[in-house]
């Protein structure tokens, strides 16, 4: 038993990747009984999926508790020394993202078990493959593995997006795939440019190397970094690369779009890791490379998105636009390049991910009770559970807008307090304006959904099934728990931001003492210019 515990403890950082992979393979092997009568295989698949999601949550909690003790947990796959082999690094930020993913997965798996998983094949297997990609992207300490895990999560998302099929899903699905493949090509070009200039892909090693790059190669390195910003900005739906998001998220079925709430955050995470830390303070000639771009673009995208939200014709589209608005707010806080700004961004990210996911689930619950009008923002018959659903929408909207005492308020307050210098008036006015316009948009939606009732028309017959309600309510409960535990969470995000700024500590932990002293490229020989390096 002790041996098992030690083994588990030793391999803990890799388990968030291995567990969903094993689950997905098991689910594929078991099958989900499409076409069978009574479907005993489907309930088995549901049980496996939910149990695995719960196990993954335990792993993530354990990793977060370990990470909160400080320090970097480095897992060297195959025990290769760090800059050459694949290293997984779990620090406070990684652990927070893992925890957030797993907290989202469990309600999504439960919600999907309420019926959506029967509309197509292998839903749960794909769900776990997507989570494998997400977890992998959060634990990897290597730029190329970040690409690989991006591909894993994207391939799963392509199929999940068109789950249950239908013309609308394919209409958005094909452009989504094509755009993401083009972005992947740019990702590869950016990664190889960075490698060509810096000679490494390990993120901790890269943070050491970017300051030492020869002046002749600096332009190459910066071009690579800016290409990476385009790629990550596309994933995060940063203006002007945001137009794909609202339609795509609205077309997907509710549990899938709820899980997609974390997908934009992967882009945010990658921007923080690469452009915030590696190309942040201490990167020599490339320090704060993206600062001039990130903050204005983020503010503009949040403003544009909230205008889109005002014009949205359906509830999921409204939520899709609000996703972009919240990502813009997070990226604006990242763009401050201060520890306070990063801490505020992380705090607000937790809030916005939970709110967006819950709103996507809720919009389907509401839509299902409104007859043929569905999720369109038009007057319809009364919904069956107006008090319950209305209160849920009210709470979620309040946190989205940023009203006290909900965590959205605390997050926005932290962002506003973090602002300093000449950007302060811009940041304050945009964040507050976005809050106001979100309020108008959500109030319009809420009053149309619950008050503009035409008594003559029959709405949905029955209330939502308990499983769907429990899944949505658990996200809401998490949100309220975040409000109660705001103090500890803020201490955690403060510590995470401080840890990110500690470049030397990360390099020591990942590379040992040898890493910093090595020559610029490990492989020597006649290079293209004909000279010895």
């Amino acid at each position: 038993m002790n041996v098992l515990a030690r083994l588990l403890q030793e391999h803990l950082p890799v388990l968030p990747v291995l567990l969903p992979l094993a689950t997905a393979l098991l689910l594929l092997a078991l099958g989900d009984g499409a076409g069978e009568r009574g479907r005993p295989a489907l309930s088995r698949a549901r049980a496996v999926s939910i149990v695995s999601a719960a196990l993954g949550l335990l792993l993530a909690v354990q990793l977060a508790l370990d990470a909160d003790a400080g320090g970097w947990r480095v897992y060297r796959v195959g025990d290769w020394p760090a800059p050459f082999g694949i290293a997984l690094v779990v620090d406070r930020l990684s652990a927070l993202m893992l925890l957030l993913t797993q907290l989202l997965l469990l309600p999504v798996a439960v919600y999907a078990s309420g019926g959506w998983d029967a509309h197509g094949r292998h839903f749960h297997a794909l769900l776990h493959l997507q989570v494998m990609g997400l977890n992998g992207a959060f634990v990897t300490g290597d730029l190329f593995n970040l690409f690989v895990f991006f591909e894993v999560l994207l391939v799963a998302s392509y199929v999940l997006l068109v789950h249950a099929q239908g013309r609308e899903r394919f209409r958005f699905g094909v452009p989504y795939v094509v755009l993401n493949l083009a972005a992947s090509a740019l990702f590869l070009i950016g990664v190889s440019l960075v490698y060509a200039a810096a000679g490494t892909l390990n993120l901790a090693h890269l943070a050491v190397r970017v300051a030492q790059v020869a002046p002749a190669d600096t332009a190459l390195l910066q071009a690579g970094a800016m290409l990476l910003l385009v790629v990550f900005g596309f994933k995060a739906a940063l203006l002007p690369l945001h137009l794909w998001l609202p339609g795509t998220y609205a077309a997907a079925c509710a549990p899938v779009s709820a899980l997609f709430a974390i997908m934009t955050k992967v882009g945010v995470y990658a921007i923080l890791r690469v452009h915030g830390v590696v190309f942040g303070d201490g990167a020599g000639a490339s320090a704060r490379l993206v600062q001039d771009w990130l903050l204005p673009l983020a503010l503009a995208s949040s403003l544009v998105a909230v205008l889109g939200a005002l014009a949205a014709g359906t509830l999921p589209r409204l939520v899709g636009w609000l996703t972009i608005a919240s990502v813009g707010t997070i990226l604006a806080a990242l763009g401050l390049f201060t520890a306070e700004g990063w801490s505020a961004a992380l705090f607000y990210m937790v809030n916005s991910t939970l709110v967006i996911a819950a709103l996507f689930l809720l919009s389907e619950l509401v839509g299902a009770q409104r007859g043929e009008v569905g999720e369109r923002l038009e007057p319809a018959g009364p919904v069956a559970q107006p008090t319950l659903l209305g209160t849920m929408l009210l709470l979620l909207a309040a946190s989205m807008v940023g009203l006290p005492p909900l965590p959205g308020f605390i997050g926005k307050l932290m962002i506003l307090q973090a602002a300093q210098g000449p950007v302060t008036p811009w940041l304050w006015s945009v964040v507050l304006l976005v809050g106001f316009f979100s309020l108008v948009g959500l109030a319009r939606a809420g009053s149309l959904l619950f008050w503009a009732v035409e008594p003559g028309r029959g709405g949905g017959a029955s209330g939502a099934s308990p499983r769907l309600l429990i899944a949505t309510l658990s996200l809401l409960a998490l949100l309220l728990a975040t409000a109660v535990a705001a103090g500890p969470l803020q201490r955690y995000t403060d510590a995470a931001a401080a840890q990110l700024a500690d470049r030397a500590g990360a390099a020591r932990a990942v590379l040992g003492n040898a890493g910093a002293a090595q020559a610029l490229r490990p492989y020597r020989g006649l290079d293209a210019q004909g000279g010895h390096r």
């Binding site: 083009a182 190889s192 492989y523 290079d527």
Partner: protein, 115 residues
């Protein structure tokens, strides 16, 4: 005038990329898939070239003066595998989309050509 190897490789990659981007901007799914494939080829060549162009160097570290950088080669292998799989997937999705919508034009309409 002698053309250097670097010039040939660089302009070749540039030309393939240009063709790939042109095809990706077309309105129907088949040229778009071809464009993605061409872009994938260009990217693979580009990664390869980013390890520098080595002449007469052993592929692994040995007794010789140096070695060709093996890491971009490993990256290219990974990129090829992923590119192959995703191309297969996008073809399948384009076929399903054509089946669902009755057209494979990006706007959903038919730009005058035969169906």
């Amino acid at each position: 005038m002698t053309l250097s190897l670097e010039f040939l490789v660089a302009s070749g990659i540039g030309w393939i990329t240009a063709c790939g981007i042109y095809l990706m901007l077309r309105g129907r799914s088949f040229p778009v898939v071809l464009g993605l494939t061409l872009l994938g080829y260009a990217v693979n060549m580009f990664i390869f070239a980013m390890g520098r162009l080595w002449l007469a160097m052993p592929p692994i570290v040995g007794a010789a003066d140096g070695a060709a950088d093996p890491l971009p080669q490993a990256l290219v292998l990974t990129a090829i595998v992923i590119g192959f799989a995703t191309t297969g997937l996008v073809i399948e999705m384009a076929l399903r989309s054509r089946h669902e919508a009755g057209t494979d034009h990006v706007d959903g309409g038919d730009a005058g050509g035969p169906r």
